[in-house]
């Protein structure tokens, strides 16, 4: 099974490349030899969209090329560009968002091609000193908190482009995730109990979720979706933005740190507890539950197409993130030995390609 999905991806990639290379050549771009965004576990996502690294022929500038000829992903790329454009125009944003410079946006031979500057960075986020990580994270999160769709004019401008989520919407989507998880892994009783608890937790706290809604959030706000150049933070993925509960981006980031930097996870949670209102702490906890459920749902949805090491690994991932969900619901942290065990297993199951893809990613 694994081989089949992987084979399909490889075929797709190779076929597309034969069309893309001459197309890009005509537009003045060349592709780099090594393409980290197409190897490793990338095939599991199976999007009909390629993210490639290349260079502008005339000046050698490094670029990121997003390209697709699939209707769904053409729309996705168009949407991302619209999000970038509207963010520039939003006059109620008192903060400036840094976005990589747009170099080309065009449609050619059924493909949509979106080329932006590649942002060089001295170090990845996780390679930086702890204090720097903490303050960079806060800066990026505060920037998002500074964009609040407060007025009628604001709401009408952004509604169509970004979408606005409130407690009812979060609950509706949570229930969909829960249903999918239960239907695809019905044998897991422990998980069932955790999700019932999570469901009740969200259901009884609509007021708190709505209290902090209407803010700009990047729902996939993690180190690999940002790049840092001279302390300026560049958002790489604009398609993952919406107006929702302001702690959604905090939640995604903190959940990520549960695995990659538990010290930073604790520092950010302590910061909120010590410097913000109690409602904010609760709101963050609610969003962490929501985001973890989505993550678990994602891994559950991949199982049917996998086999071998990757299947075993994704089952382990489901187990690990379920542990994290349980800990968040109990206001606790995942024990270090659970994190270490999981990391050991993960590293033993990852392919060399995937290890290569992960390099310099976070």
């Amino acid at each position: 099974m694994e081989n089949n999905t992987k084979k399909l991806w490889k075929t797709y990639y190779k076929t597309e490349l034969t069309k893309i290379i001459p197309l890009l050549d005509n537009l003045g771009f060349s592709l780099e030899e090594e393409q980290v965004h197409v190897i490793g576990e990338r095939y599991i996502i199976n999007n009909q969209k390629l993210i490639l690294t290349g260079r502008r022929v005339k000046n050698g500038q490094r670029v990121i090329i997003k390209i697709s000829n699939n209707e769904k992903f053409i729309k996705e790329i168009e949407h991302e560009r619209k999000c970038r454009e509207i963010l520039k125009k939003i006059d109620f944003s008192s903060h400036v968002f840094f976005s990589p410079q747009e170099i080309l946006f065009t449609k050619k031979q059924g493909f949509i091609i979106f080329v932006t500057a590649f942002i060089e960075q001295e170090n990845t986020f996780l390679e930086r000193p702890f204090e720097e990580q903490f303050f960079l994270a806060l800066k990026a999160l505060e920037v998002q908190e500074g964009v609040h769709a407060t007025t009628y004019k604001h709401a009408s401008v952004i509604k169509k482009i970004f979408g606005i989520w409130n407690a009812e919407k979060y609950f509706e989507i949570f229930n969909k995730y829960k249903k999918e998880i239960e239907s695809k892994s019905p044998e897991n009783k422990k998980t069932k109990i955790i999700f019932l608890k999570a469901q009740e937790f969200i259901r009884t706290n609509f007021e708190t979720i709505n209290l902090y809604s209407g803010f700009l959030v990047h729902w996939d706000f993690v180190p690999h979706n940002i790049r840092i150049d001279k302390r300026n933070i560049y958002l790489l993925d604009h398609s993952s933005m919406r107006f929702g509960n302001k702690h959604e981006s905090w939640a995604r980031f903190i959940n990520f740190m549960t695995l990659y930097n538990p010290k930073l996870e604790k520092a950010l949670i302590d910061y909120i507890k010590d410097n913000r209102s109690q409602e904010e702490t609760l709101s963050l906890q609610l969003m962490r539950v929501f985001r973890l459920t989505e993550l678990i749902k994602y891994y559950v949805s991949t199982l049917e197409n996998l086999s071998g090491n990757v299947l075993t690994l994704n089952k382990k991932r489901i187990e690990f993130w379920s542990n994290a969900l349980e800990a968040v619901l109990d206001n606790k942290f995942v024990r270090q030995e659970i994190i270490d065990d999981y990391k050991n297993i993960r590293d033993s199951l990852r392919s060399e390609d995937e290890k290569q893809r992960q390099k310099n990613l976070h």
Partner: protein, 382 residues
């Protein structure tokens, strides 16, 4: 007393004014009956405080009228309205004053016209020059007109500095007897999840990078001091129209090792830098919207402040007592004062202690509330 606090901003909005209102209401409700009337789609609750919100997510005229009626209804048995800012909440408060005959105390917390014009990049003028001769759109000029109208019809105005009082008096022709200075309380100290270790010879300059802030002179001073203090470091935090020009100066002088531009920083880092650095050079010699709040924050964090000589500076800093006043255009003078601070720990400690005393006496919640209660109880303008 029955007090109404009318405000355009309230948490979860993250503006300084929002947090001020929440803290103020929580303190006032210990002695008074407090109702907040806020423009807000959602709002954080305060035990013991009645909260009336008017959603902003409706057309301008609609929300204005709803706010006006809410204020009119709430003020039936109220003794006083304490209104924040002079436009969206200020105008309804003045209309209500006409009908209810109750005093309206206007807290001129922000210069909304200048703030908006700056955000929209209509102007790079200083607040004083902007108000005297605004280069802006008709919409901004209308906001200025409203500010003037509301200021002149309020029973009394509170401002956070003598300089602001004088500006209001000269530009909007508000009688000085109608203006009372009530210094802002310090913002809550940030609690950081790690220790702060002092860094020797580190200077911070925080604020907007604008022409009138004398930043090139500060850069030249660091250049001249680097021989004497090879570990000297200047951290410049903030953004503004002068950013590229300043960076070029640093590059041309080969000072990248000594001067670092941090760009926008978080609230926590703003506090952290004050906690670890040796000296804070205040970037403004004008009546900036945050004056003197940024200095109060440094008093609170225990870091000596150097400020440009001006009437405004004299209001808060006594030279070599609780800070330093210098002519920022004079590099030699600035260099001398920085050297004093770097070399003399006794002087540094004296300045920090004296600043702390002033903080407690003049810029605390106690003194802020005392002044406010005196105004409320005087029944001014009834």
């Amino acid at each position: 007393m029955k007090i109404i606090i009318a405000t355009p901003l309230y948490p979860p909005e993250i503006e300084t004014l929002s947090f001020y209102i929440k803290s103020l209401a929580a303190k006032l409700c210990e002695k008074h009956e407090v109702t907040i009337v806020a423009y807000a789609s959602t709002a954080e609750k305060i035990p013991g405080v009645k909260l009336i919100t008017i959603s902003k997510r409706q057309p301008l005229l609609m929300r204005f009228l709803r706010y006006l009626f809410a204020l009119l209804e709430t003020s039936k048995h109220a003794d006083i309205i304490y209104v924040q800012n002079s436009v969206t909440a200020g105008l309804p408060a003045i209309i209500v004053k006409f009908f209810r005959k109750i005093p309206v105390i206007l807290n001129f917390a922000e210069n909304e016209a200048w703030k908006r014009a700056t955000q929209l990049q209509f102007t790079s003028q200083s607040p004083e020059n902007f108000l005297k001769k605004p280069k802006s759109s008709s919409k901004i000029r209308f906001i200025i007109f409203l500010q003037k109208f509301v200021s002149n019809h309020a029973s009394q105005i509170t401002v956070s500095s003598d300089a602001s009082a004088k500006l209001l008096s000269s530009v909007y022709h508000v009688p000085s007897t109608h203006i009372k200075i009530n210094y802002n309380p310090p913002e809550n100290q940030q609690i950081l999840p790690f220790k702060t270790n002092p860094v020797q010879h580190q200077i911070i300059a925080i604020g907007r990078l604008v022409e009138w802030a004398h930043i090139p002179e500060i850069i030249y001073t660091v250049n001249s001091l680097k021989q004497k203090f090879p570990d000297i470091k200047l951290l410049i935090a903030g953004e503004g129209p002068q950013e590229n020009k300043l960076k070029q100066i640093v590059t041309d002088l080969n000072l990248s090792k000594y001067i670092i531009f941090l760009g926008r920083i978080s609230k926590a880092e703003n506090w952290y830098l004050r906690k670890i650095s040796h000296t804070h050079i205040h970037l403004y010699d004008s009546i900036h919207e945050n004056f003197p709040d940024t200095i109060i924050s440094s008093f609170s964090a225990g870091i000596p402040v150097i400020i440009n000589n001006s009437i405004e500076a004299d209001e808060i800093i006594s030279d070599e007592e609780n800070g330093f006043t210098v002519n920022l255009k004079n590099e030699k003078e600035l260099s001398k004062k920085i050297t004093f601070l770097f070399n003399d720990d006794n002087l540094k400690n004296k300045i920090i202690n004296n600043a702390n005393k002033i903080l407690n006496a003049k810029f605390s919640w106690e003194s802020h509330l005392k002044t406010l209660n005196n105004i409320f109880e005087s029944g001014y303008g009834k």
